[in-house]
Symmetry: C2
Subunit: 226 residues, 2 copies
Amino acid sequence: MGAEGTPSALDRADALEAELRARICLLDYAPGERLSETELAAEFGISRTPLRKVLARLEGAGLLVSRHGVGTFVTELDDEELDQAYALRLELASLAARLDPALPDPEALSRFRHLAERARSLRPNPDSPRPLAQLIYDFIQAQALLSTNRPLMDFATHLYTQTARLWVHSLYTSDLDLAEEIQLFAREVEDILQALEAGDLEAAALIHRAHVSLSWRRLRARRGTG
Amino acid sequence: MGAEGTPSALDRADALEAELRARICLLDYAPGERLSETELAAEFGISRTPLRKVLARLEGAGLLVSRHGVGTFVTELDDEELDQAYALRLELASLAARLDPALPDPEALSRFRHLAERARSLRPNPDSPRPLAQLIYDFIQAQALLSTNRPLMDFATHLYTQTARLWVHSLYTSDLDLAEEIQLFAREVEDILQALEAGDLEAAALIHRAHVSLSWRRLRARRGTG
DNA sequence: CTCGGATCTGTTGTGCACATCATCAGCCAG
DNA sequence: CTGGCTGATGATGTGCACAACAGATCCGAG
């Protein structure tokens, strides 16, 4: 592997899908926003046909929905579904450590150390929470390797995707305090790293669960205020 | 609603997707089997293009995978992933009753009664476990309405889809005894119906969990034997 | 007989032209 | 002024022809 000299057709489609997934999660495309097939096809230098296949896959994954004659839209979550997703994330955080725990190998550990370093050196950029969003995106993907239960981790990542979009949206609308969120996230990564270095996956899961819970609480508080 | 005189384009696509989902779950298409875009398009009287959109969505949902120049295949689950899915189903059964329980309305109750009646009158057909598979398929979809937590129930249904395919496959290969499975399922539906009529969702969840666990055990036993 | 390579066949991927649908602006009747 | 109608516009949906690709087949050299 690693011979990326000749990106085959399927790899191109997969890369495109990953790129669009990231854009949706990182709020480059806001919930409810319309995506133009024509514009996207032009941007990536391809025809509408292969682009439409990728959009269809994202539709199957529940991130997009297309309406004939209207447009293709990023899915939205109402408050109720957001709460349900958060409640599920709390439960799943415990499950991950209990069901099929996978002790992180040295490479994975170094990846977490790198994440912690990035979190420490992250300074709030008033007009763009994107660096933080990107950091959390990478963090979740690293965390998905802490259990060998693929269905569970796939679903956990999916739920993160759904909740993070609304969470990042609150950063953009200043419902959440960027500097505070950065500090809290850095703390979470540090704590989890410490637990991982001690080989205590259960502790790592508990820490993660606590932060998810607190994050949810802050989001609800601001929701009521706004 | 209910005016089905003019099936719009999008409805057609949705119906087609539901039909293919059912065929995959009911093992009309076995795991690993190749699906021909040309043949399917001809069968449904449409061109390859709209069919490909549906296939792409199913690919996004993790039920299909297409390889350039080779074919489109129904995804396969190895034993490890099957075990992980079963383990998850056990946990989720409890979660459904704990998180967002939804007491069944009279209509839902009557639907369960109808399912129980079908289970009672089901006689083993030596060459076709499909009626049982269809019955369980309907049962799971009815059960998905017992919690208002949509993300949870969607995921539970997805996991059922993954495990049921292998389970039904074992019925086809006679690794499982059809008559025995019919009897056990009828018992499960009766017990759950009783719990629902008493308004005890937690009991219903426990019963379901027990049956999932026992079903898993039978599957593992036959796997070791075969 | 064996092995290697060209070729052949069938598959999914791509591009393009057109059909179908939903929306909105503008206009005309009331 | 109001209300509904009609057309223009731009979106996704569809069909078809062809390209790219993988595997099987066939043929010939050794």
